[in-house]
């Protein structure tokens, strides 16, 4: 009689423990959500808007023209002594899209990534400071062709194509030589990375 009762108490204890554990599990799930809501820092830019701006600028060729606005040693329109825009953005379609699309309170860095024979390299297009933690980062790819023009800062073509320029003129090397049927018309596929954050 006493032994049976003790077994019942044991079972009740186990069940009570299970209930407590279930309650704890529920509470922990709630705690997991809390940091997600509270963890959004004030310095985060709108990633959706940046993505939208980048998509539109890519569709319209503005990103490509900005990537190709190269003078041989720097992006056209940059100040003396630097090959990229510092504390500013280019005065072309891409720069205008970033400024107008993201607003004056958002700071933007733009970097062009490309492949070389010795591995990946990066060329800054615009540098406006070190991004804080939580900065938004988006990427688009741009296909460059041998027959593509080089552009000036405002987005107007300059005489000559990538293929007609001397070797070493452009910061990206021709990665696809050969016949047209093997993709030889392609010059390179570069990655344009934009990092944005609230000032």
């Amino acid at each position: 009689m006493v032994g049976t009762r003790a077994q019942v108490f044991t079972l009740e204890g186990v069940l009570a423990a299970l209930i407590v554990l279930a309650g704890l599990g529920f509470a922990l799930q709630t705690v997991v959500v809390t940091p997600t809501d509270g963890g959004v820092s004030a310095g985060t830019a709108d990633g959706d808007r940046l993505e939208s701006v980048l998509t539109t600028a890519t569709e319209r060729g503005a990103v490509k023209r900005a990537v190709l606005a190269w003078t041989g040693s720097s992006f056209d329109g940059t100040g003396a002594g630097t090959s990229y825009f510092v504390d500013s953005l280019p005065d072309n379609g891409f720069g205008t899209a970033l400024r107008a699309g993201l607003g004056p309170s958002v700071v933007v860095n733009v970097v062009v990534g490309y492949e070389t024979a010795s591995g990946p390299e990066r060329q800054r297009l615009a540098y406006n400071g070190a991004p804080p933690e939580g900065a938004v980062r988006e990427t688009v790819t741009v296909a460059l062709y041998d027959a593509d023009s080089v552009y000036d800062e405002s987005g107007d073509p300059v005489a000559g194509t990538l293929a007609s320029r001397p070797s070493g003129f452009f910061y990206v090397d021709d990665r696809h030589t050969g016949s047209a049927s093997t993709g030889g018309d392609l010059y390179a596929v570069v990655e344009v990375e934009v990092v944005a954050w609230q000032a």
Partner: protein, 322 residues
């Protein structure tokens, strides 16, 4: 007495077990609900699908650029253009996949083995009038004012570069349905005081509507881009009314030739027509045709991230709604 205690204990046991299972189930359901809410409210572009759209447009823009480039070349067969397009699309896909793989996203761009629709460019590169080439040297009284520029099929990049435009009667483009019913259009261009008057009249099924727009008449040549709906680079809403995606017989009407009191329309033009429409055109010197162009292509595209699975066939046809 002992039996009653045992029964109560068993009932308590069963009740507690049911309660425990119910609470655990509730926890799981609420957890899933919380996860769903977090995902829906996440501003991250990867989970929202924006990243997939950007990747898609990157690929489309790259292929679109190349399609324009290979179509600019003369004397290249359609199969050679197709082979080049396939090779370039493959390389763009591989490189883009590498870049997105670094972010944990799988992107597959696999060009079709038969990816391209054939097209033909019709162009008049030397300034002349716009009558049927075989009748341009005839006497004014003998010749037909109209010329069937295309014989069905869709067209794009339709651009007229005028070195001379008439005051009256106007230069006219007629867009006639190949088959079935639907809207048809007459497009007229003429001088009107100090302006160019562009009038588009709907003449097919539906209510009769005439839309107009006037643009300042600058000196020098004028360019009318029918596909982009612009006159000398300025948007003309009347031109935008023409549904360029439909298949038409495009008829050019150039009145006033041989009449010394009038200035018949003269200039250059170019247009890309989708086969088989280009086959039956009345062309010849000075109107040239470049056959074997790539009118459009389709690129299968897929994107996979932990939150988004996206697959689409990208249609690339520069100048059209894609």
């Amino acid at each position: 007495m002992a039996s009653l205690t045992d029964d109560r204990a068993q009932l308590l046991l069963a009740g507690a077990f049911v309660l425990a299972v119910a609470l655990l189930g509730l926890t799981i359901v609420l957890s899933a609900g919380n996860y769903t809410a977090s995902l829906a409210g996440d501003s991250g572009s990867v989970s929202q699908g924006d990243d997939a759209i950007t990747a898609r447009e990157s690929v489309r823009a790259g292929v679109r650029s190349y399609l324009r480039l290979i179509n600019d070349r003369s004397g290249v067969s359609h199969s050679d253009r197709e082979a080049s397009l396939e090779a370039v699309t493959r390389v763009i896909g591989e490189r883009t996949s590498e870049i997105y793989a670094r972010e944990g996203r799988v992107l597959v761009v696999s060009p079709d083995s038969d990816p391209a629709t054939e097209g033909t460019r019709i162009k008049q590169v030397n300034k002349d009038n716009f009558r049927q080439p075989s009748e341009r040297g005839g006497a004014a009284a003998d010749i037909d004012e109209t010329w069937s520029l295309t014989n069905g099929g869709t067209v794009r990049n339709m651009t007229f570069h005028f070195s001379q435009l008439p005051a009256s009667p106007p230069f006219e483009l007629q867009f006639r349905r190949v088959s079935g019913t639907g809207k048809e259009w007459d497009l007229r261009v003429e001088k009107s005081g100090g302006n160019w008057l562009i009038a588009v009249e709907q003449v097919g099924s539906g209510p009769a509507i005439t839309l107009t727009c006037e643009r300042p008449r600058s000196s020098g040549d004028q360019t009318m881009d029918v596909t982009d709906a612009t006159m000398d680079g300025t948007y003309c809403p009347a031109l935008d009314a023409i549904e360029m995606g439909a298949a038409y017989d495009v008829v050019v009407k150039t009145p006033g030739i041989g009449d010394s009191t009038r200035d018949p329309a003269e200039g250059q033009f170019w247009v890309i027509a989708r086969d088989p429409s280009a086959e039956a055109m009345n062309t010849g010197d000075p109107v040239e045709t470049d056959a074997g162009l790539v009118y459009s292509t389709t690129v299968p595209f897929s994107y996979h991230s932990p939150a988004v699975q996206y697959e689409a066939d990208l249609r690339v046809a520069p100048g059209e709604i894609e």
